[in-house]
């Protein structure tokens, strides 16, 4: 197969592939920086929990409006936010830590979601909700995904400094009277929003993959928040592009293909990245003078 046919032609020829690629681009731009901040806050698993928490809202949306990604997305947003708020509340007013309260609420939410979907929909629908439909992204949901990415970048530009300080030195922010709780909440809103965007394309189970894997991989390539975010977005986009091609040529489901490519990039980064990878640890170069 010549390179053009392998790498470009599918997107030229098929509208659904083009739309899927644009959705991946938008997802990458939003999920890259959000994922990096999640990793820096040591909240990687909270992202995972939130992505599962989205399910009952999406399921209720599905019951109301069928397979409308906009309604399901809105429902998912509300459900994810509810879990984030409730776990944050429990963590703030009781001695329980946030990771435990998050786990509790997301499990409740996930069970509720599976219950709703399995009583009211057929199994095919469940597969749709769980694994996403990036190859069937319509104009309305593409618009939603792109809007979420745009809003995410704008919000990050506005409150980025606060988010970084709140993560790096929360005690300082409290001492200078900074709005730590508001920033934390705004950040959780961003996470849920981007998970909803990802869940359109990749399904609730895979949505968090495009957020966490590139961010986790970026750590082995970059050393500042800005470069980490850029690296993470670039990896996410590359994974989206390669994953779509893989799914097209090998006739595989697109969501898992994309996430597996991102997973491959992560493993290569762990092994061979220039910062703290296995290579730098086990094949060290001669030390410097100072």
């Amino acid at each position: 197969m010549d390179p053009y046919a392998a790498l470009i032609q599918p997107f030229v020829e098929f509208g659904f592939m083009r739309r899927a690629l644009v959705a991946c681009l938008a997802l990458s731009l939003g999920c890259g920086p959000v994922g990096v901040l999640l990793v820096l806050r040591r909240m990687s698993l909270v992202g995972d929990a939130l992505s599962h928490a989205v399910l009952p809202g999406a399921a209720i949306g599905f019951m109301i409006a069928g397979l409308s990604l906009v309604v399901m997305g809105f429902g998912g947003f509300i459900a994810g936010l509810a879990v984030a708020v409730l776990s944050g509340l429990v963590a703030r007013v009781t001695p329980q830590r946030e990771d435990a309260s998050f786990a509790a609420f997301y499990l409740i939410s996930l069970a509720l979601g599976v219950l709703i979907v399995s009583t009211r929909g057929s199994n095919v629908d469940l597969v749709h909700v769980l694994f996403g439909t990036i190859l069937a992204v319509d104009d309305a949901s593409l618009l939603l995904v792109v809007s979420i990415a745009t809003l995410t970048l704008v919000v990050l530009a506005v409150i980025g400094r606060g988010l970084i300080v709140e993560c790096f030195d929360p005690g300082f922010l409290r001492a200078v009277g900074g709005p730590g709780a508001i920033l934390h909440f705004a950040f959780l809103v961003l996470v849920v929003m981007n998970l909803v965007a990802g869940f359109h394309a990749l399904g609730t189970l895979m949505a968090v993959g495009l957020m966490m894997l590139p961010a986790a991989a970026a750590r082995f390539w970059a050393g500042q928040v800005t470069t980490l975010a850029a690296t993470s977005s670039a990896i996410a986009l590359a994974a989206g592009y390669a994953g779509l091609l893989l799914s097209f040529h090998a006739n595989l489901p697109s969501g898992p293909a994309i996430i597996l490519v991102a997973g491959g990039v992560y493993i290569v980064s762990v092994v061979a990245g220039p910062r703290g990878s296995l290579r730098t640890r086990f094949l060290p170069r001669r030390h410097l003078e100072a």
Binding site: I159, F168, D169, A175
Partner: protein, 247 residues
């Protein structure tokens, strides 16, 4: 001289259990006070109460018009993630928070002040280094540089020289002395009594209750120090309600 903080029978603690109780006195504006006492005697709790992170269980704590942002606070174990990918310069620039806040730009003048602060704490040329590459002592210098920029009338330091070498301690003590010369109120929790005698005019000796408060020579006498060591360490779950009357 006006009082920086005045305490009237203040009790501070957690879950109704006092960490330090029945504290009465004043930290005068422009004073340089060491807070001394055994581990668990309530020193850190007192600083948290002064800055307002903890409300008194009892008594009255007056800040005399000081707002929270007028107080720079160096906690004993800062919740700082020292592996965070941020540079020394960016960390120090946070000291400008009152000016820049969440949204305002960092001007060249502010950046120059940050460079001067780095020079003042002996870290000239470290601006671009990631904080993850610093030693404990160098990092403490960075935090002092940040406090220099905060430019607060009141500075609270919780064990600022623990696990810090002699050279760094001497350099940072010079910064403390400079603050005192600028008539800022400095309150520092310390353990090294010789250091206190040499550098701190006033001392508060506590041991879950006040033992002595006044000039350092007067406070750090053998009988006071002996008294402080007799402190009850206990957290008694069945402790009775404290009946001690208000002084």
């Amino acid at each position: 001289m006006t009082a920086g903080f005045s305490l009237n029978d203040v009790t501070l603690g957690y879950d109704r259990h006092p960490a330090v109780h029945h504290l009465t006195g004043s930290f005068l504006a422009g004073s340089l006070t060491a807070v001394v006492g055994p581990n668990g005697s309530g020193k850190s709790t007192l600083l948290k109460g002064l800055i307002g992170l903890l409300s008194p269980l009892d008594g009255r704590l007056e800040r005399n018009g000081l707002r929270q942002r007028d107080i720079a606070y160096l906690p004993q174990q800062a919740e700082i993630d020292r592996s965070f990918p941020i540079s020394v310069m960016e960390t120090v620039l946070l000291g400008h928070w009152r000016t820049i806040g969440l949204f305002r730009p960092i001007t060249r003048a502010l950046r120059r002040q940050a460079e001067d602060a780095l020079v003042a704490v002996g870290l000239d040329g470290f601006g671009r280094r990631p904080i993850a590459s610093l030693s404990t002592g160098q990092f403490q210098r960075v935090l002092f540089a940040r406090m220099l920029l905060q430019d607060c009338p009141v500075i609270l330091l919780d064990e600022p020289f623990t696990a810090i070498d002699a050279k760094t301690t001497a350099d940072l003590l010079a910064v403390v002395t400079r603050w005192h010369g600028e008539r800022r109120t400095v309150i520092a929790v310390l353990h090294d009594l010789d250091q206190v005698r040499e550098n701190f005019p006033d001392t508060l000796l506590i041991s879950r209750k006040p033992i002595a408060w006044g000039s350092t020579a007067e406070v750090l006498r053998a009988e006071h120090l002996f008294q402080a060591r007799q402190m009850a360490e206990a957290w008694d779950d069945r402790a009775e309600i404290c009946r001690r009357s208000v002084i």
